[in-house]
Symmetry: D2
Subunit: 363 residues, 4 copies
Amino acid sequence: MNTFGRIFRITTWGESHGKAVGCVIDGCPSNLKLSEEDIQRELDRRKPGKKLTSKRMEEDRVEILSGVFEGKTTGAPISMIVYNRDVRSEHYVKLKNTPRPGHADLTYFLKYRHRDWRGGGRSSARETVGRVAGGAVAKKLINAFGINVLGYAIEVAGIRWERDSDDYHEVFQRAERSPLRIPDESVSERAEERVVELMKEGDSAGGVVEIVATNVPPGLGEPVFDKLSARLAYAVMGVPAVKGVEIGSGFRLAKMKGSESNDPIVIRDGKVRLEKNDCGGILGGISVGETIIVRCAIKPTPSISKRQRTVDIEKMEEVEIEITGRHDPCIVPRAVPVLESMVALTLADFMILQGLIPKSLSE
Amino acid sequence: MNTFGRIFRITTWGESHGKAVGCVIDGCPSNLKLSEEDIQRELDRRKPGKKLTSKRMEEDRVEILSGVFEGKTTGAPISMIVYNRDVRSEHYVKLKNTPRPGHADLTYFLKYRHRDWRGGGRSSARETVGRVAGGAVAKKLINAFGINVLGYAIEVAGIRWERDSDDYHEVFQRAERSPLRIPDESVSERAEERVVELMKEGDSAGGVVEIVATNVPPGLGEPVFDKLSARLAYAVMGVPAVKGVEIGSGFRLAKMKGSESNDPIVIRDGKVRLEKNDCGGILGGISVGETIIVRCAIKPTPSISKRQRTVDIEKMEEVEIEITGRHDPCIVPRAVPVLESMVALTLADFMILQGLIPKSLSE
Amino acid sequence: MNTFGRIFRITTWGESHGKAVGCVIDGCPSNLKLSEEDIQRELDRRKPGKKLTSKRMEEDRVEILSGVFEGKTTGAPISMIVYNRDVRSEHYVKLKNTPRPGHADLTYFLKYRHRDWRGGGRSSARETVGRVAGGAVAKKLINAFGINVLGYAIEVAGIRWERDSDDYHEVFQRAERSPLRIPDESVSERAEERVVELMKEGDSAGGVVEIVATNVPPGLGEPVFDKLSARLAYAVMGVPAVKGVEIGSGFRLAKMKGSESNDPIVIRDGKVRLEKNDCGGILGGISVGETIIVRCAIKPTPSISKRQRTVDIEKMEEVEIEITGRHDPCIVPRAVPVLESMVALTLADFMILQGLIPKSLSE
Amino acid sequence: MNTFGRIFRITTWGESHGKAVGCVIDGCPSNLKLSEEDIQRELDRRKPGKKLTSKRMEEDRVEILSGVFEGKTTGAPISMIVYNRDVRSEHYVKLKNTPRPGHADLTYFLKYRHRDWRGGGRSSARETVGRVAGGAVAKKLINAFGINVLGYAIEVAGIRWERDSDDYHEVFQRAERSPLRIPDESVSERAEERVVELMKEGDSAGGVVEIVATNVPPGLGEPVFDKLSARLAYAVMGVPAVKGVEIGSGFRLAKMKGSESNDPIVIRDGKVRLEKNDCGGILGGISVGETIIVRCAIKPTPSISKRQRTVDIEKMEEVEIEITGRHDPCIVPRAVPVLESMVALTLADFMILQGLIPKSLSE
């Protein structure tokens, strides 16, 4: 299943060290203004930064091959391609038969019995280029209906930032200035130091990303199985390295009393609103008109240069390996646009399903 | 979307205070031995216990209407019905226009503009009768292929039990003896006391449930969007009151170093295994042959007898309400068989997709 | 796959001689007025007539179990049940191991290896009760948006009626007065005589049914695989006994010249219209705003009383069988409401997909 | 919906005069030997012939971008691209606002309000390049399990060939030698003359194509909605210009008596077989183990050079147009590999669903 979505759907394809990676969007309404720059901007946000991330130089120039005519979508599938450059597979030859701990190497081998071992092949985070390309179009679409999807790190290497503002746009802007996408300069600096330390030890760090969607109308989400919460969990849990998901206050709610966790319903500016939004904008699986809040636990990058124990699956014997080559000591900041994309894709789908975005946008 | 699954699929229907609730299973292989007792047993596990749960007397006698012939499934849809009895709607009349905080009342109203307000209607946890009925068949099916799905509470009202054994079957048996389904008698007693206290205050408690699946073969899960982890997150996040999901060590992984979180790959009993299974049996979204571990955060029961602030949506004015009637002060133990069902349904689906369960079982 | 549709979806269940048959509708908008009478009316049209059809007395009283509150749909699944009465299985015991020619007996056995042989079990046309119940709701829904779906026989036992009017409503009314649903009294009488003859010979007849949908807006249908034409073909070809489908002039188009088959585009009453509509209201798979026309070839009832050659699948030897019991010598008139239902369900689905029917109807 | 299939799925993209067209295959088992030559061979069969078809020089070199490693599939999506060359859009500028009769121009405009008018854009038969590329892989896959899908024309411009042999492979070989893909030299020559005549008149011809699949195992197809017959009808009715579908003897069955249309069940070579296979290999929607037979009515090419009446949709006035440029006077022979592809894709899907093709082929 390399297709995501029910109506607004993306299909991604491509391997880390193959010819190219790409994405086909199906179900995008016609008459949406769209250019390669719209997509390039988001791909650039996913690129390795100057510090703390992989040194692979990914140019990642996107090309739109179909579905756009005279600067606007036509309703036909939008095919996008990014050619792979700067591909060096030599580091991987020696790991061909020794699945790297924490990676999908072992499970792909067990499932398919034939595996593109170059750079992780299909299971590489390189695949997320397609998600971000698709997400860029979803963002543009829902943005035309007032919705913004914004992401930032709230924890890296165990160092946590507590949200200090309800102005998510401002929080987001601050995060974009931090190499780790933490919305506070001093917290970010402390975390950076810790990540540099780990990198020097040949180790890596994980973290927690928060994605919010502002201005989401009420009514999105389908009872009882396609709840907005369930679809969001599905969307972000499918991103490489994600091992936990929370909606609103999540696991913290489990420790509260009912009288604490229940959101009082109030009238504000003539509208029915929730007083504190611990539910993360979702009640009974349906959006309530408050900011949607999703949090994702990201495990540390499994590619570390420390020696690790694994098995040679051909000789069936235990061995030790050392992973060389370029690797992000902390994938968290680069995961942000990927997770934003998955949330944006989910919302675009539900907006169309709910009849709030038409098949053809008015010109 | 009241249908769950791709090949082995259930469709549930029915409202809390309507005539009946039910489930139609589609895609179940033929030649599976199945009786009403198989389903009744699981429904009985979902029933209110003698203490700490709702006093509504739910007999919940299931009847199989189709799909079984001479004691075995035929491959045709299995329709199951449970008539609603002991239905008293009088408590709900006065709440018709005042959505209960923490409930789906408000969002259903905003989405559908016409709502069966009797006992929460479709959004009531009563709907999970259909899930448990469907889950009972999924369990029977995957059990025939060696897989067991087992659930228990690891936290209630903030009181946590730390796992003390790797023998999940024994842990499960212990849990089944506790009214809160906590696998330790003394922890359970402390939690019970706390829940009774909260109940007396007119308040309620939440908790955390852990679901494990033992003996799951490697190779289940589809890259890149239908990962086993993503589908499990989708499955359990769609259960009423669930606000967080973890696979394996989940959010704890985010704080670890890569060298700690990576599971060393070893050979044990001639098989490729993981040394510690922090990944919860899933790598790259695909099962690796270890125990699958999923944890769910459950918010406190929103129905509390304490006064709460809400809005009269007809008069558009803020009001206070008091919820009367019978309500579980802690839904956690009753959520266990529901969550087990969702995990079992997900695994049955993937076992068939992977070609490990045939369309027709051998007689 | 006992579920039909993408958004407006029905799941049917039940066997010919089981306890009941039924249908669950998912995705029906809220606020549609709906009563059991709405569904009963269509079920009655499917019932055996006084002459020329099966003598089984099917009362077929439908009961709505969920999804309707205070006379209007709530958006929740609508579960409907019809108990089986007047069920006599004794005729089928002797046919248990000898698949009836032209029936699904053999293929169900080959696929499932365990078969409810009583009256054809799941493969019986009895299953279409669920389709008609679902179709009744679809009809009511699209009718609220001006669309009518009307069916009639244009050929029975080789005797053909040529359409003599463009007033499809009047044609339909005439057909409803004929026991064979042929819209012309004298053609109908000739066909009836032929069918009676065949019945006396222990034989049966087939025919052709035409379904039209009037007032369908342009724009329904999705390129390139979910064309309206493709979905209609899928819908009606799945009805028991259908072996051919035409859109508009169908196979007759294959013999025309392009200059004959092309529909000139004209302006009529200020609207862009087609002059002759040989395309059956569909161009490039999308509705054009003209009447939708679908024609279905229905093979003769396979249950005939003449001796037939088959195989005893237990003993693996060729044998001859005689089918006794009650059987329609011509299923064509009873197929009409079933085929109408499939077309109505398809259109309801596309109307919602196209955003022309909202999630919640205005009160 | 530019995706076809449930498990083995293709997504096609691209416009007639855009940069490229392509196809992404998802769900193909791993370890299938696959090269660009395998696909090129089928694309070449779709190319315009030397006579009687469009003069557009389509090189159509396919490139595989992903999913194949060391000559074998990996289970990852297979992305294929064919760049568009020899694209001349000048003929279409003047038709921008005047939808061509018989084409999708009008309906695309009504649905999307923004249309790539160059060469029909997405609605051009150029899109079928993607289908044939996907079909080539499906054919290779099911061929490894003994199934062959073979197509030929049985009628062109009203001139019909009656099948004279049950050796479908020989019939197919003969058809491949005919420019119209009619399996009889003299019938083909007569039809060619008629087509040439029509071409000189500025007109075009349609016809009927028969697709057979040999050696299909019993048990494919899902009751009651995903019947093999229903899915095949869906598959071929979605191909441009198809307006009718028959399974087996199709509309001819409607005129027969039950005693004629029923296929006697016999034992041949120790196997349960049908004596005459009028049912086209499908009973009750499920394959019975006989040759699958599907027939498709193809309307004449709508692009004719004769003057035609249409409407200027900008000025809303009736006008006459003349279509210039290169057009096939008869699309029938080029439709054959497209229709074969749709049937092969459908069968591949059902073979996997039925568990007869594993996720990973044995090496």
